[in-house]
Symmetry: C2
Subunit: 305 residues, 2 copies
């Protein structure tokens, strides 16, 4: 079952001829989450064969133009494609005003026939913003010029299977099975306690992904993204532009790698590159010194976690 | 001196993996006019090496999303690039409200430091919207679901050069020369009238381009675009979708070619293709039957008129 990230845009505020503003799609078990929606996102989705109609959840880190200008075009296209399903948007509450004005302007007589369900983010503390049997998504504060959140996706793996032979051996009744799958030990009629790990197959750990953009270096992020399999962290600059990074509340390659190391993540993906850099080797090189399993985000890159 | 069109987008409302929403740039003698500004226009400008800071005039045919969603990103980028020069926008007066809301939202404390000069279009009749020594631009009504204008660009060629030998022969005084360049005959002291064409080199005719999108077939367009060197006319559908073309106020390849033939233009460029067509051969073929000098618009196509 997929847990797969597709990168649609990796530029910072100024797009270049081959880097688009921020957008990504995470496919979790066939459910598609769009993270940020810079200008051109819908065209990038076409190019990389992401179905627009399968997007039911959009997460917006913050309300800078390079993370939101693709929304109105995407909503218009969903309308043209005949969408009826609700669309959930997790963002700063002001985004609703921004989008509603544009929708009212474009469709004064004939409002779009699907509902936008807005979920306001909390920019002060970590918060669960989505939860079901298979997935938990949390938002957490970043440190940018305006209110900004990162997002962490944790797959909740299916309950483990029972070990058939043991179930028969200990004559475990059906009514006990669900509790054992959920982690309980089993006590026999004679009072003997059989530990859970003798009764179930080992559970596969859930997969995890975290997205952090835009942000200055912020130590608390390491806790929010601890142990994720894949961390996307912005690295707008290299250390040669440290003063600019500080002034604009952005990170360097070194900053991103420092968070990755502290958080003991498995892999680091860096992006949101300043148009100042013709290639990103300076940013990558300083990250690799600190966190060797670092790669560069590129449009169209797909990573299976 | 250039009179050169670059195509940035040729899709209709739904972009595809290789066709972007409408946008074009006309370079008239080093001055750049942006015509429509669909989503992704600024990225297409980067890709095809059109300088964003050289755009001083933007013409917007109508206020459907696929012709305007790139504006806010373009304005934001101009702001980031430090623009100070006025930017002239020729459009329906309501566009000002649409853009101003977004700018106020994005830059509440720190408005953009360049002025947007709005020039409202007249959707009832032909009108000169720009005029200087070298160029005249007219707008004229099209027939779409909402108020829509086409645009015609006519180069005014430089005044002709005097024929040096004739000037000496007829002893023409300096004070008369400007009038002769502007077309006057010359009367000698003895009362002899020397016709203008003996005194000046032949003048090169001015080059011309017209843009018509979006529109249903409208016979008056042929007058508005009469004899242009290059006509861009939308051809969203082929005749197999005649009913849809009528219902949505769009043209077919046959419609576009009929206008081109009636108007006796030199060359026809068709675009704004529906995503229904995987290739445009059906649209092109029916146009070629009526107007042989027809070509298909593609992203990145550059035509020197």
């Amino acid at each position: 079952m997929p847990f797969q990230l597709t990168i649609l845009g990796t530029s910072s505020a100024l797009p270049t001829s081959n880097r688009y503003p921020t957008a990504q799609v995470l496919n979790v078990l066939g459910r598609f989450f769009l993270i940020d929606c810079g200008e051109g996102t819908q065209m990038q989705m076409r190019k990389y064969k992401i179905s627009i109609s399968r997007i039911d959840h959009i997460l917006i880190s913050h309300l800078h133009g390079d993370h939101i200008f693709g929304l109105i075009g995407l909503l218009s296209t969903m309308n043209l494609l005949g969408r009826k399903k609700d669309l959930h948007i997790y963002a700063h509450s002001e985004l609703q005003r921004f989008l509603q004005f544009q929708l009212d302007f474009l469709y004064p007589a004939d409002p779009i026939p699907f509902k936008l369900v807005f979920h306001p983010l909390n920019f002060k503390k970590e918060q669960i913003i989505f939860e079901d049997k298979r997935l938990t998504i949390k938002s957490f504060p970043l440190n940018h010029r305006i209110a900004t959140c990162g997002f962490r996706f944790d797959e909740r793996p299916p309950l483990p299977n029972l070990i058939k032979e043991q179930i028969q051996h200990f004559k475990i009744p059906i009514r006990e099975m669900q509790r054992i799958k959920e982690g309980d030990d089993f006590t026999t009629e004679t009072g003997e306690v059989i530990p859970n790990n003798l009764l179930v197959h080992p559970q596969k750990p859930g997969r995890s992904y975290a997205f952090c953009s835009d942000t200055a270096f912020l130590e608390t992020i390491a806790e929010n993204v601890r142990n994720v399999d894949l961390l996307y962290h912005e690295a707008t600059f290299a250390e040669d532009n440290r003063a600019l990074a500080t002034a604009t509340y952005h990170s360097t390659g070194k900053d991103a790698a420092t968070i990755a190391r502290k958080a003991e993540v498995k892999k680091l993906l860096i992006g949101h590159f300043s148009a100042r850099y013709k290639d990103q080797s300076a940013i990558l090189d300083e990250a690799l010194l600190i966190f060797p399993d670092t790669i560069i985000a590129e449009e169209g890159l797909t990573i299976s976690v």
